[in-house]
């Protein structure tokens, strides 16, 4: 896929060369490149991006509940990882999908700032991250039942 952003184009080509068929989908809109990979090979892709491509900072992990606009064949939740390359200000977004009960690989090993972000996603969506040092609720009390940011959860709570 050709994009009119030379630096990101180089990254995309390296990625495509390395994981050619496992990049399920790449999108480049509004100047932002986002790559979708399956849950299984999330860690190798991120390790590759961090070590070879120099994306050394994890900016944010965003959880999405696509219950209102379900895409056939794709699980309900998707998790977006927003990355940074420090000196030359490159941004990249890696997207994976997960159903309710499928645990995602935790990336606290690669990035230390992932610790609380993953706990927040567990707190809000109920997605489990295997390999996370202490996966407990970060905002709500432990006695809170339900996961608030799911679409079926009412705004004012049960």
């Amino acid at each position: 896929m050709t994009i009119d952003h030379p630096a990101l184009q180089a990254v995309l080509d390296a990625l495509a060369a390395r994981f050619n068929d496992r990049l399920l989908e790449t999108r480049f809109e509004k100047g932002e490149l986002s790559v979708r990979v399956a849950r299984g090979d999330l860690r190798p892709v991120l390790a590759f991006l961090r070590d070879e491509q120099g994306f050394n900072a994890l900016n944010d992990i965003i959880g999405l509940d696509n219950a209102n606009a379900p895409v056939a064949g794709r699980p309900r939740f998707s998790v977006l990882y927003q990355f940074y390359k420090f000196p030359d200000a490159l941004r990249l977004r890696v997207v994976t999908d997960a159903a309710e009960d499928e645990p995602l690989p935790s990336i606290t090993g690669l990035y230390k700032s992932a610790d609380w972000a993953e706990r927040e996603i567990f707190d809000m969506f109920g997605l489990r991250f295997e390999g996370h040092p202490g996966l407990t609720r970060i905002y709500l009390g432990d006695d809170f039942k339900g996961y608030p940011l799911r679409k079926e959860f009412p705004l004012a709570g049960e």
Binding site: Y139, L140, G141, P148, F153, P154, L155, A156, G157, E158
Partner: protein, 167 residues
């Protein structure tokens, strides 16, 4: 409620006046702020609006020495038991001011995590509206509280057996 005796004895009304004069002129707020309203509370305590003129600038960090609890900010469900315990730790003649819409009625957050109003957990004396009420609004609320204290009758409570110790 405390049953007011038929005709308050003259001596006690003067004593009431003196005690309430002292209590209303030396309200030491608890140095606790929750959210945006806390910044406006500090701005009221700072130089421009100066709560110190009314003798209130001593923000006591420990609830034991505070007698005014300004609930400044959003009371969330996780924070509610702690607010309740703070209120219980304060010695007896204590007053509560609910500052800002969040403390008064949950404000702009009708969500699962917010207690819709601090009067669900502790009795409130003065409600101050505004989303981050301006320091003038807070001062007006505090002066209203002072007027309310001036009308109280502490001596009637003082000589009655302390009911709380029984329950």
């Amino acid at each position: 409620m405390i049953k007011a005796p038929a005709q308050p004895a003259f001596l006690l009304t003067q004593l009431d006046k003196f005690i309430t004069w002292a209590q209303k002129n030396s309200l030491w707020p608890l140095g606790s702020g929750l959210a945006c309203c806390a910044i406006e509370m500090i701005a009221t305590g700072a130089s421009h609006y100066d709560m110190a003129r009314f003798g209130m600038e001593v923000f006591r960090p420990s609830p034991r020495q505070a007698d005014l609890f300004i609930v400044a900010g959003t009371v969330t469900n996780k924070m509610a038991p702690i607010i309740r315990r703070l209120w219980e730790q304060m010695p007896d003649p204590k007053w509560v001011v609910a500052m800002g819409n969040c403390a008064v009625c949950g404000g702009p957050f009708p969500t699962y995590a917010v207690t819709q109003g601090v009067d669900k957990i502790i009795p409130v004396d003065v409600y101050i509206a505004g989303c981050a009420p301006t320091p003038q609004a807070l001062l007006h609320g505090l002066i209203t509280l002072q007027e309310k204290i001036a009308k109280e009758h502490p001596t009637r409570v003082m000589f009655k057996k302390d009911v709380r110790r029984d329950d």
